[in-house]
Assembly symmetry: none
Homo-oligomer: 252 residues x 2
DNA sequence: GCAAAACATGCAAGAACGTGCAGAACAAGA
DNA sequence: TCTTGTTCTGCACGTTCTTGCATGTTTTGC
């Protein structure tokens, strides 16, 4: 049996059942467990599964499933948020848009007949806007981080530094009325800070589960948020805190 | 038995079973394993299968089938070119890849188990490589040009200037043995020139209709091409001109 | 805390591989 | 018919890859 065939069979089994056992595969293929372990190690290195004690579990499909479930459930809500968010746009504005699924939804919600200048470090947002005929698109390059779907690093910061925007669509992070906007990744936070610093206003669109959460890295003070787009069911008390600090609240 | 007959039988077997074993084919055809290995090597070079230890597995047809639904008729030929082009890659190399549908096909043909560093100004190439787990992806940002599908301009040039690559996959342009590589757009040519200047080698993959054509803006001399990937039916006279100037010819 | 299972690593044998070379088969031309 | 050149093929050689085993380490279950 070819090594490649073993790999493919393992892939199939992972896709079908979500997990495999090293010992079982060894007896099924008629090879030693060491060989199976080597196979699993290679597949794991290629990102096609995650190695666990005793075997391996599917990574990409499983992750995709959870994302699509999460996205699938909230996707309608995110589309509503996105429509409310793009309502604040006016023709001729320039925007920063960074990463996150909410921002991709916003990019999709941007009408095709509005003239805008958009700078983004998100491949997803760039792809969506790449065929909007009236959008002048500026891609903020740099080191691409798979988990974030965005570019970060010195090159990205340098590109941001040369630009200014009327509005910054700040995506997917922690949001708290006292700690302000926070992010989970240091490099990501750097870029967001740079964008925030070069923008006249900041817009954040969040689902309820993001309200009143925090992450390690500070991005911007709560007082610098100019537009906050939330679900209709968002807790009024929390919104009042943001409103008191100058944010304009928009209900989706 | 004729060589061509063997090739056809191997093709049939690949199509029917998805994989073949070198030893088994040798005894079936009554030839030495060396001869079978030679056959498989040629078929792999032509993109009709993928060589693995112990034999070969079918490669292109399935992927090409889904792609060709979306694209035109040249898609299949481009996939063959792409498979031949990625054959020159070795692990650990760093690449520049610019725009064009051929380069997107090449990006798709890059195997998922090879470690590479890739810098590209093409949104399409970046999207394809964004989920290759072992590819370190650097996005070369700048002003996005819809017609080209790439970023160009001062920002892009500055980003290219900070990088170097072992190989530059130069896409979609005019190609002539005396005028060298030429492009249709001034800004595009600038970026290509910068990439060419910072690369140790240049690879160009072209369909026959691009051979012996020219465009207004010069990109690189014919002598700077290190690898030229062409269709099997490419005119030998033209290829000889390039070969005389140092290019290594690869047939898809 | 202990034993068993699972694991990673190094190693050696064997299989598969690529390359260079020489002979055989074949076609083209004198 | 003979010569010449080309292509195909098999063999020899050194190299690379895979695999199973031995060894020592880590994890798990009790």
């Amino acid at each position: 049996m070819l090594t490649d065939q073993r790999h493919q069979l393992i892939r199939d089994r992972l896709a079908a059942e979500g997990s495999v056992l090293a010992g079982e595969l060894a007896s099924r293929f008629g090879v030693s467990e060491d060989t199976v372990r080597r196979d699993l190690r290679e597949l794991a290195k290629a990102g096609e599964c995650r190695r666990v004690y005793g075997g391996a579990v599917a990574s990409a499909p499983f992750a995709a499933a959870t994302i699509s479930q999460r996205g699938g459930h909230a996707i309608e809500e995110k589309a509503r948020l996105a429509n409310a968010a793009v309502a604040v746009l006016s023709a001729g504005q320039s925007l920063f848009i960074d990463g996150g699924t909410t921002n991709e939804a916003i990019a999709r919600a941007i009408p095709r007949d509005i003239e805008l200048t958009v700078a983004t470090n998100s491949l997803g947002v760039a792809s969506v806007l790449s065929d909007h005929p009236l959008v002048e698109l500026i891609v903020l390059g740099g080191r691409y981080v798979r988990d974030l779907g965005t570019c970060v690093g010195a090159d990205t910061l340098a590109a941001v530094a040369q630009l200014g925007a009327d509005l910054f669509f700040l995506g997917s992070c922690g949001l708290d009325a006292t700690r302000g906007v926070t992010a989970f990744d240091s490099s990501e936070a750097e870029v967001k800070r740079a964008m925030a610093g070069n923008s006249a206003g900041i817009l954040i669109a969040v689902t309820n589960d993001k309200l009143a959460t925090t992450a390690p890295y500070r991005v911007a003070a709560a007082g610098s948020i100019s537009h906050l787009v939330v679900e209709k069911t968002a807790p009024a008390a929390i919104l009042a805190d943001f409103e008191r600090q100058g944010a304009q609240i928009h209900f989706a």
